[in-house]
Each structure stands twice: as structure tokens, then as C-alpha cells.
């Protein structure tokens, strides 16, 4: 195939198919190049200027996020963010979405999402040690959705299990809006010796650009552009834009990169993963950060297909590839080092002083453009925003459920897919490899110890898009605070956040308003608890036939535990322990699971979140855990007190007897800022003296698995075994 000429590209407006607008194309021709870009160059601009790579639509909003604290060693702009945890160590983490690929090819889409996020961590010089994920699908009704769920879960497990990193936490939820646009967000956390930190830069004229890892094929070409477009009935089959993963190669690549940085830090000046927009994005970003130029010779790129064009090689998103910047005197050492791991490593170019990005292919100069025009000259958009009508219309609507039978409602709620146990899925993930997992999936947060120290890291992925849909600002705050409560309930201090911002088309003013307001909510909550947002990604254009998903920010939070003795789980420990509820309960039913159960949909505004009270309750729990007064602790979220009590009892097949002045309906209220705590009888006085306010004594843990509940309205006895079965079996039943 002969490529269209620059003139033909201009005349046929081919650039539009690749996602460049007329005005962007004009900017490139008239202000940057002062000539027409050729085929390869047009391709490079189109991917580098896509939303996925440039954040051109979201940058203005993202600046609202706090990204500083005493712990931050690196924030947004690197492959992943870094937080100091003392003793010369740091944690490195990031979350990334792989929504579009997973919709089209669920197994590989999800698998390569995991592979990509792992590379982001070890490219910083860190040893990855844990994985998490957040998944959203349509309701488990039809075979197509179940197939999608099975394949995504298998892809995540297939990659993580093989590479040997434990999946320690995550969440799965189901709403109608995700039926044709599932969300697959993956997070990886790594440990870094501070001295091993490597920037993704290519500096110093004459230094070499080395390609390491899998060969380049035609897979994933234009993946970034594809991820920045919507799905429609006619546009959902772009399989060529999906990559194929090989966790075995990545395992070799990970071990090799971690080892070379640890043992030979002076050999390597910079290292970066080839992720979205592959070779062009990684090399252009590395050169841009150092304000240098690059020459690449594509004939040296290891290829697994024949007759690949420069355009195809530069845009390929083949997996398991890294770019290194290496001092020439260590070239032979570096190549030999990777060869010992049986990995391809070749010099494909060098750093220049002229700030130009030049590519040679078959002895022809096929690209000659300013490096920074790819990364810095992208126009930034200030999109118009409009509050959607539903917000004002429904603001004063207050749903209050009518409870005909507390027992039946309670039992049925435990079967709701968003509440029921997700063990059916997460037991297919290896959560224990490395033998450092202290708290496995199923508690509030996953906890991993740091071998050789007393420290441990708590990690969680949280989102509740129902709240964000009803009120993006308050919903954004709730998302952060729910994550924080999960971290705190595990015995940790929240120290930082990564996020995946999943929304519809930002060119729709209502969608942009949702993005903007929810980010403001997230930012205010993060500031309140001093958790800077140090990395993350934005996934826009999540639409199907012009129908947007709920605004769905996902918060990945990390917490530090200074002594593993403080690790706390949700499980009631033994009969006789005292049960307390910290935090007041109100009629907060809008957006709740009980509203969904009773009406089939969600509606109404949200009560503003009192950030001071939220922070206070988190601090009280931390103090109580630090003083050794807490036997178990569980954050209250979906399904309210009823679900929190049940989940806490299930693990050791215990029961409870409680009495409360809440109404039966309020057992299901989802008021924020609440924790369920159990305390050993001998710690009663110390606990009550510490907490002092906003707590209610509910009753005791019992040996017998029955749930004896007295509300303001009635006294009931709930069969705990039946409850446990309902909760445990619901998902497996739905998946049949």
C-alpha cells in the first residue's frame, strides 16, 4: 500500500479519521511546521494530541487536584507518583483505565490493562508488589454481559497470576449504564528504595536510546485515538486497536529492569514504559522532559511482522516493551545484561542537541518535527459546562423506604449484586503470592507487609458512581472519604491517592460539568485528609449511541501502617465483644442500594458531607486502633448498618444481639462518616472515654449465628446462616 501524500491528507481530511480537528491540523501546518505534515507525522500528532495522551480536555480541571504533601517525591507527569514512607523507602503507585479495549476484546483488554500499569511502576525503578482493580458492568442478566465479566476477570487473573503479583483488593459493581461500555480500571503499587528512583528522561547529547522487550507488531495501532472516541452500534468492532499481552515476557522484563536499576544505577539515565501510543509517546516524552532532540532508526526496531511502515511501528501498542536512555560507554553491558534475561535489547537511536524529533526508516528521513510540538503544543480546551436538568429537578426529592418486613428486606439486600460477596471472582486471582499479604480481598482494604520492617501498606479501590450521578460535587467527596474510611478501618494512615476519571464525551457540556464538579469534590476531600493525588488517568468518551455512563471517578488510595500489629479487619473476633456505631445516622436513602432495590432506579439530591466531622471520625478510629482498643472495624457504605453488621459476622460465623433507636428503615441508610467497631469488654471504658461523642453502643457479638435486632419499630431474629448463604451464593447463581 502506498501512503497518501501530505497534500492528499490535507485534501481528503484523512486526519479527521484519526481524531485531529480542522483547527488542530491547521495549527500544525501553519504555526508549528510551516508546511504540510506527511503521513507518518500526521499519525504522530494525531495520537500525541489525543485526549488519552495529552489530557487536552481535562488538564484545566486536573489542576484543581492537590498534589503536594511532605511525602510526595514525584507527582503527576511521571509514569507513576511516589510517596516517602521513611527509612529510605517509598511507595510508587498508579491506576489506569483500559475501558475501550476491554469492551471490544475483554480478555486481552483487561490483561494488557494490568500489564501496562505494572510497567508504569517498575519503570520508576520500583519493585511492584500488589495489584488492585475496579470493574463496572451492566446488570448480570444476559449472556453477553456474563461473557464480558468472565473474560475480563479471567484476563486480569491470567496476567497477574502468571507474572506473580498478588491481587489484594478491588471492587465490582453493576449498573445499566455500563452495559455497552464496561469500566476496567487497574492499579499497581510498588516499593522503591529512594536511591533507585529513575526519571523517564532522555538527556545528554550522544546518549543512546535502547529498546528492550517484546517485538513490535501491528497490534494496538491507534489505541490511544480509539480510547478517545465513543462507541456506537457501527463503531464497536475495532479489534485491531486492541493489544495482546504476554505476562511471561513482562515477568522477565520486570525482573531485569528492577535488577539493572538496583545493581547498576549508573548505566541507565532514564527509563520509560511504551504504553499508549507506544514508541512515539515514550521517546517524545523522555526527550521533551530533558528538552533535547532525538534521532530514531526504525530499521533497528525488533519486528515480529514484515513490511511494517514507519507509521505502523511508531503507533503500535505492542505490549511488554521499554525504552531506556543509556550512556554510550555502558552500551555493551546493558545489552548483555538483558540478553542474560533472554530479552531483545537494541540501540534504536540517540539523543541530539537540536530539539528535533527525527525518524529514519529504510534510509529515508520520514519525520522531522520539534519534539515539544508533540507534547507541549497541544491546544488546551476550556469546554463549556452546563448543569444537567436532573440535578435541579430532583434536588428536593427525598426517598424513604417503607419496610414491610425487616427480615425479608435484609435478606434480599444481601443478594443484591452490588452488595453480595464477590469471592466468586476474586478467588480466581492469586492474592497470596510473595507471602506478604496480611489482609486478603474481602475486607475493607488489602494489606501487604514490607518484608524486613514492621511496616505494612493498606490499599483500596473505591467508587460509587450512583452518588456522583446524583450530585457530582458531594459524590466526588464521598468517593474519596469512603476510600479513606476503608484505609483507616484497616489500621492505616491515608497518605495518597491515584485516580481513574471515567466519564462520557467532554464536548457535551453536561458531561463536562459532571467532570469539573466531581473533581472539585475529590480535591476538597483530598485536601481535608492530606492525601495528594500523585498519579492517575482520564478516560473520556465512555458513551454508547450518545448515552454517557454515570460520571465514574475511581479513587485508589494507599495508607501506611507503622506496625503490623495495628492491622485491623472487618471480622468480628469473638462472642462477648461490644459493638459500637460511630457517627450519626440520618434518612440518607437517595442513591442507596435500598432505593435501587425498592424502586429499580436512583433519584434525588445528596445531603452535603461535613468534612470536619468525617475527618474527626477517621482520626478517632486511628487513635483507637493505635491504642489497641479495636477488635474489628468496618466502614459503613452500601446497604448501611445492616450490611456492615452482616459482613462482619460472616467470616467467623458469629452472630450479634443489638438494640438501637434507629428506625427499621434507617438500618439501610447510607449516611457517610460512620464506622462499625467492636471492642473487647475490658477496653470498654478506655474506648468510650477516647471517642466521647457521636457513638452509640449497639450490643454484643454472640456465639450463635443468629442476628437479633431491636429497632425503634420492632424486634426481629434473622437467620444468620441463611443470610450468609444469600450473600455468598448470589453472584455464582447470577453467573450461571
Amino acid at each position: 500500500m502506498t501512503e497518501p501524500t501530505a497534500k492528499q491528507i490535507q485534501d481528503s481530511k484523512l486526519y479527521q479519521q484519526w481524531g485531529l480537528s480542522d483547527s488542530e491540523y491547521k495549527l500544525i501546518c501553519e504555526k508549528i511546521l510551516h508546511r504540510l505534515p506527511n503521513y507518518t507525522e500526521t499519525g504522530l500528532y494525531s495520537v500525541m494530541w489525543s485526549e488519552h495522551c495529552s489530557y487536552k480536555n481535562s488538564k484545566k480541571v486536573l489542576r484543581k487536584m492537590p498534589n503536594k504533601s511532605d511525602r510526595v517525591l514525584a507527582g503527576p507527569g511521571e509514569d507513576a507518583g511516589i510517596l516517602d514512607i521513611g527509612d529510605g523507602q517509598a511507595v510508587v503507585f498508579k491506576a489506569e483505565s483500559h475501558n475501550h479495549p476491554s469492551a471490544v476484546e475483554p480478555y486481552q483488554g483487561a490483561a494488557t490493562g494490568v500489564g501496562g500499569i505494572i510497567r508504569d511502576i517498575f519503570s520508576m525503578g520500583a519493585q511492584p508488589f500488589a495489584l488492585l482493580n475496579s470493574l463496572k458492568f451492566g446488570p448480570l442478566k444476559d449472556g453477553q454481559t456474563k461473557h464480558l465479566v468472565n473474560e475480563v476477570v479471567a484476563g486480569i487473573g491470567g496476567y497477574g497470576n502468571c507474572i506473580g503479583l498478588p491481587t489484594v483488593g478491588g471492587e465490582i459493581s453493576f449498573e445499566n449504564c455500563y452495559e455497552n461500555n464496561p469500566l476496567v480500571n487497574a492499579m499497581c503499587v510498588g516499593l522503591l528504595n529512594k536511591t533507585d528512583f529513575k526519571h523517564g528522561t532522555a538527556s545528554g547529547k550522544g546518549n543512546l536510546i535502547v529498546y528492550v522487550g517484546a517485538k513490535t507488531g501491528r497490534d494496538g495501532i491507534h489505541g490511544a485515538t480509539f480510547a478517545s472516541d465513543e462507541f456506537t452500534d457501527t463503531k464497536n468492532k475495532q479489534r485491531s486497536a486492541v493489544q495482546v499481552g504476554n505476562p511471561f515476557i513482562e515477568k522477565l522484563l520486570m525482573d531485569a529492569c528492577v535488577e539493572i536499576i538496583e545493581k547498576h544505577p549508573n548505566w541507565i539515565l532514564g527509563i520509560q514504559d511504551m504504553g499508549a501510543a507506544g514508541l512515539v509517546s515514550s521517546t517524545a516524552e523522555m526527550a521533551s522532559k530533558a528538552d533535547s532532540g532525538l534521532i530514531l532508526n526504525l530499521d533497528n526496531v525488533p519486528q515480529r511482522e514484515t513490511e511494517m511502515s514507519a507509521y505502523e511501528m511508531m503507533l503500535s501498542e505492542s505490549q511488554e516493551r521499554m525504552v531506556l536512555c543509556v550512556k554510550p560507554q555502558f552500551k555493551d553491558n546493558v545489552l548483555a545484561f538483558f540478553k542474560n534475561f533472554e530479552l531483545d535489547a537494541v540501540v534504536i537511536g540517540q539523543v541530539t542537541g537540536d530539539k528535533q524529533y527525527k525518524i529514519y526508516h529504510r534510509d529515508e528521513l520520514v519525520t522531522d518535527i520539534p519534539v515539544r510540538s508533540l507534547t507541549e503544543d497541544v491546544p488546551e480546551y476550556d469546554r463549556p459546562e452546563v448543569e444537567p436538568k436532573r440535578i435541579a429537578q430532583d434536588r428536593d426529592y427525598h426517598f424513604v423506604p417503607k419496610i414491610d418486613s425487616l427480615i425479608d428486606t435484609w435478606q434480599a439486600l444481601l443478594k443484591q449484586p452490588n452488595i453480595a460477596s464477590k469471592k466468586h471472582f476474586y478467588q480466581t486471582y492469586d492474592s497470596q503470592v510473595k507471602a506478604d499479604t496480611l489482609v486478603q480481598p474481602g475486607s475493607d482494604a488489602g494489606v501487604t507487609r514490607i518484608r524486613g520492617t514492621k511496616k505494612a501498606i493498606a490499599m483500596t479501590n473505591d467508587s460509587n458512581s450512583k452518588y456522583v450521578y446524583l450530585d457530582p460535587y458531594v459524590g466526588g467527596q464521598i468517593t474519596v472519604m469512603e476510600a479513606a474510611r476503608n484505609i483507616v478501618a484497616s489500621g492505616a494512615e491515608p497518605i495518597g491517592v491515584t485516580d481513574c476519571l471515567n466519564y462520557g464525551n467532554p464536548e457535551n457540556p453536561e458531561v463536562f460539568w459532571e467532570l469539573d464538579k466531581s473533581v472539585e469534590g475529590i480535591a476538597s476531600a483530598c485536601e481535608k485528609i492530606n492525601t495528594p493525588v500523585i498519579s492517575g488517568n482520564v478516560s473520556l468518551y465512555n458513551e454508547y449511541n450518545d448515552e454517557a455512563i454515570y460520571p465514574s471517578p475511581m479513587i485508589g488510595m494507599v495508607g501506611l501502617i507503622d506496625d503490623v500489629k495495628k492491622v485491623t479487619t472487618i471480622a468480628f473476633k469473638e462472642a462477648g465483644d461490644l459493638i459500637y456505631l460511630l457517627g450519626n445516622t440520618f434518612n440518607d436513602f437517595n442513591g442507596s442500594e435500598i432505593q435501587l432495590q425498592q424502586t429499580g432506579s436512583i433519584k434525588g439530591g445528596l445531603r452535603p458531607l461535613d468534612l470536619n466531622e468525617e475527618r474527626l471520625h477517621q482520626d478517632l478510629i486511628r487513635q483507637a486502633i493505635n491504642q489497641g482498643l479495636v477488635a474489628s472495624c468496618h466502614d459503613l457504605s452500601e446497604g448501611g448498618l445492616a450490611v456492615a453488621l452482616s459482613e462482619s459476622a460472616f467470616d467467623k460465623q458469629l452472630g450479634f444481639e443489638i438494640e438501637t433507636d434507629l428506625t427499621s428503615a434507617q438500618m439501610f441508610s447510607e449516611t457517610q462518616s460512620r464506622f462499625l467497631v467492636t471492642v473487647k469488654p475490658e477496653d470498654k471504658t478506655n474506648f468510650e472515654n477516647l471517642v466521647l461523642r457521636d457513638f452509640q453502643y449497639l450490643g454484643q457479638v454472640t456465639e450463635d449465628s443468629t442476628f437479633k435486632v431491636t429497632t425503634k419499630d420492632e424486634t426481629v431474629s434473622i437467620n444468620g446462616k441463611e443470610a450468609s448463604n444469600n450473600w455468598k451464593e448470589a453472584i455464582a447463581c447470577l453467573m450461571k
Binding site: 480466581t428 497470596q432 503470592v433 510473595k434 507471602a435
Partner: protein, 223 residues
């Protein structure tokens, strides 16, 4: 006493085993590359779990062609102890150092869970610190861990007390709920569950510790 942990490309439980020896029972241990051709100086060999060569063909099928393999076979034939865990067990059956085979789990899904095992034979190098029929909690994590052998082999395994561990509940469809078997001489053990992940209560169970202590115990008695 000096242990070798053999490291194949794609092994991912090698460090867990390394720490089990170094920190768990505080003995000498070294990682041995699959390209090495000698195990001289070692008292025992541990083959770790993971996905050697990605397990793309069949679990363990490619690893058996690595240079270190002939040395492992020699080691086993000389009566020195060899322990294969998970992928290591798969490699040992591929090598026919142990009878039977490991095939895809009955429900064809990967399963990660801490399960209850019963110690069927506590008169072995690997289990002498356990009591007879002791129930222990050990994690499993595998997609191809369903033990299969024909009836005649099963009868032989039973007659010779070669079944070392059985699952309390048959999680993967294994013949006779077998979780671990040894060779007739008793110096080669393969098991799907991961004792190296159960060395401290803080990670959920310390029931795996006795397995490693048993080895030390036995070797000390022999010496």
C-alpha cells in the same frame, strides 16, 4: 544444611521459598539458575511455583528441557530430597519422578484459597513433625492442579503410603482428593498447596512451617 531453590524463567514463588528457608527455618539457601549444570554442595532441591516459560504449552512441559534438569534427576536418583511445589509438582510429574499428572481444575477456573489438608503419612522426610491425620491450613493457587492417575497407580500409591496430603474438601476434582504425593523411595515430594505461604500467623497460617522443620529434623537424624 544447604538448600537450592531452582529458578526457571517465569518461576514466581522462588523468593517465597528462599525466605521460607532463610527466615522460616534459618538455614542456608541459594537460588540456582536453570542454566546451571551442577547441584554440587547442596543437600536438597526445592522447585518453586509459578508459570515456568509462561506455561503456554502445558504446565512444566518446557521447563523439563532446561540444563539443570538432568542434575535434579541425578539428585533424586541418589536419594537426596527434592520438593516441588505447585509448578514444581507439575515439573516433577512431567519428568516422571512422580507418578500421575496435573490437569485443569474441574471447574476450569484458577482458584486461590486457604484450604484444609490432611496429613496422610507423617512418617516421611517432609512430614515427620506433623501428627498422624493432622489437619492443616495451607493456601492453594492454581488453575491446573487437579491430580490425575489411573486406578492401578492409585492402588500402588495407597499400598506404598505415597499419598502424603489430601484435601479435606475436593476443591479441584483431584483423584482421591490428592494434594501431594511422593515417590516410592520417599525422597521426592510434589504438592499443589503452598506451605511456603503459611509460615507465620500474621499471613493467615503457620501450618507450613513444620514441613520445612521436618526436612531439617530428618537430615539431622540421618547425619
Amino acid at each position: 544444611m544447604k538448600f537450592a531453590v531452582v529458578n526457571f524463567p517465569g518461576s514466581n514463588c522462588d523468593m517465597d521459598l528462599y525466605y521460607a528457608i532463610k527466615d522460616g527455618i534459618k538455614e542456608e539457601v541459594e537460588l540456582v539458575d536453570y542454566r546451571k549444570t551442577s547441584l554440587a554442595g547442596f543437600d536438597g532441591v526445592l522447585i518453586p511455583g509459578g508459570f515456568s516459560y509462561g506455561d503456554y504449552l502445558r504446565s512444566g512441559a518446557i521447563a523439563v528441557h532446561a540444563p539443570i534438569i538432568s542434575e535434579i534427576v541425578r539428585f533424586a536418583n541418589e536419594g537426596k530430597f527434592v520438593l516441588g511445589i505447585c509448578n514444581g509438582f507439575q515439573i516433577l510429574t512431567e519428568l516422571h519422578l512422580l507418578p500421575g499428572a496435573l490437569i485443569q481444575n474441574e471447574k476450569s477456573r484458577f482458584i486461590c484459597e486457604t484450604v484444609t489438608l490432611q496429613v496422610m503419612n507423617n512418617q516421611t522426610i517432609f512430614t515427620n513433625r506433623y501428627t498422624e491425620n493432622e489437619k492443616i491450613r495451607i493456601p492453594v493457587a492454581h488453575g491446573e492442579g487437579r491430580y490425575y492417575c489411573d486406578e492401578q497407580t492409585l492402588e500402588e500409591l495407597k499400598a506404598n503410603d505415597q499419598i502424603v496430603f489430601r484435601y479435606d474438601e475436593n476443591i479441584n476434582g483431584s483423584v482421591d482428593q490428592i494434594a501431594g504425593v511422593m515417590n516410592r523411595q520417599g525422597n521426592v515430594l510434589g504438592m499443589m498447596p503452598h506451605p511456603e505461604r503459611a509460615l507465620e500467623d500474621i499471613v493467615g497460617s503457620s501450618d507450613g512451617l513444620k514441613l520445612f522443620q521436618s526436612i531439617i529434623n530428618q537430615v539431622r537424624v540421618n547425619n
